[in-house]
Amino acid sequence: MKLTIDVWRQASDETDGRFVSYTVDDAAAEMSLPELLDRLNSQLVEEGEDPIAFDTDCREGICGTCGITVDGIPHGPEPHTPMCRQHLRSFSDGAHIRMEPFRSSAFPVVRDLVVDRSAMDRVVASGGFVSVDAGTAPDADTRQIPFDMAERALDFSACIGCGACIAACPNGSSHLFTGSLLTHLATLPQGKPERGRRARGVVESAEEEFGPCSVYGECAEVCPAGIPLSAISAVNREAARAAVRRNRDD
């Protein structure tokens, strides 16, 4: 199939970017979006041009490294699917595809389609982890938890940290990401001793890095991990709980 691709080209955060149009004549329906970019890049290298920079790693939807905006939608047309698992069968032959980086103030463009998502790392570093019981893996039966609690924690820990929720949010908010982080750690016994301290640190950091939530619900629509929208309410819940239990770590 023949595709026309408008790709955002930007040398660095300091320079302005613009869309450049390319044509790929030998695209195939079973190609994924990174494979299309690979194909285009070999074409560009053959022609002596600079290849397009884009983030990609596992290409099986579990690492959260990839992420571009396709035709205005973070990751692309297929719902709940990371960019690396989006295929050209979603597009018709002769289609015009627009590819640009994830857009949000918190995500400065590094080059072309690559953005700096370290704002999310700073939120995690502000307490979004478990630092107690960090020795060797304990025996699986040491702490027994109900099955549905384990499932609930797993649902929210499915977040791959790609940042699509933030790119999709008209407010540039990270509530789906922050909420899933807080929920799964607050659900499991290992996370409970630091629950309050974690909420204070993570929410304060998230407010410094991202915007407020208006419950538009766009985030959950693009989330490749299928994090439920209820995650966003955890931000206010955990912050309020930590504020009421002022001096307590748990």
Partner: protein, 254 residues
């Protein structure tokens, strides 16, 4: 507050942050908006039910208006209940608007300000999405309407109020004739009807949003129920009120 310092790669450019550094957190602002919003929601529901007494005739409606001024006398002074409501509502509306403006400016900044490219919305533009996206517009419409409404039927200030406006006295109230006089002017009726449609949209998103903002986890099933309840409340309040100017204009009430 002993969160570890954020890790920063050495030698990198200074970090620009998209959020805010104010001591007033967005979480607190959203709690204030949710609580004050629920106060308004309860108020407009009760207000609408009271308005429907207009269908019981002039005497019932006027005596209801009179009772509002004398309620719980002598425990409360004359107009005591009204003034308690007025103070609560005034404080709430100021807090609601201030928080809305603070959050809006933070959201704009985080999205990228005027430079932000428009994003295509996965959710389309159905009624609930439209209601969410138009909160600021419907909010401004409601604020202007509340000012008009007070000038029209509370203070009786012209040109908002009808010519024959009669202020309430300690002995009696003229709410019925004031209402009929006001709604007999079709532009006034139109303002009321448009404002009620704005109220319905504002409630539709506001009721759903306030539940999330209060930190209540809503699953996908519960979300559908919540959306249905919000739609029901929004429609009941708006349609209940809209029937009154329509009834006046069609001569059902005179």
């Amino acid at each position: 507050m002993s969160a570890p310092a954020p890790a920063r790669p050495s030698g990198s450019a200074p970090v620009t942050r998209a959020g805010h550094r104010s001591r007033f957190s967005s979480v607190a602002a959203k709690y204030i908006m949710a609580i004050t919003g629920l106060i308004f929601s309860a108020y407009v529901l009760v207000h609408m039910i009271g308005n429907l007494k207009v269908y019981q005739g002039p005497e019932a409606f006027n005596s209801y208006a009179h009772w509002l001024r004398n309620a719980f006398y002598p425990v409360l002074p004359y107009e005591g209940l009204l003034w308690i409501l007025r103070v609560v509502l005034l404080v709430s509306v100021i807090a609601h608007i201030v928080c809305a403006l603070i959050l809006k400016s933070r959201a704009r900044r985080a999205r990228g300000g005027a430079r932000a490219p428009s994003i295509r919305r996965r959710r389309g533009l159905g009624l609930s999405v439209f209601a969410g996206r138009s909160m600021l517009v419907t909010g401004v419409v409601l604020l202007l309407f509340v000012i008009f409404h007070i000038l029209d039927l509370t203070t009786g200030t012209s040109p908002a109020a009808p010519d024959g406006f009669q202020a309430a006295t300690h002995e009696s109230s003229y709410a019925y004739s004031n209402l009929v006089d006001s709604f007999s002017r079709w532009p006034a009726s139109l303002i009321y009807i448009v404002a009620m449609l704005a109220l319905a949209l504002h409630l539709l998103h506001g009721l759903v949003s306030s539940v999330y903002d209060l930190g209540i986890g809503v699953g996908s099933k519960a979300r559908n129920i919540l959306a249905a309840v919000a739609l029901l409340v929004a429609l009941v309040v708006a349609l209940g009120n809209i029937t009154i100017p329509v009834a006046v204009l069609t001569g059902l009430i005179s």
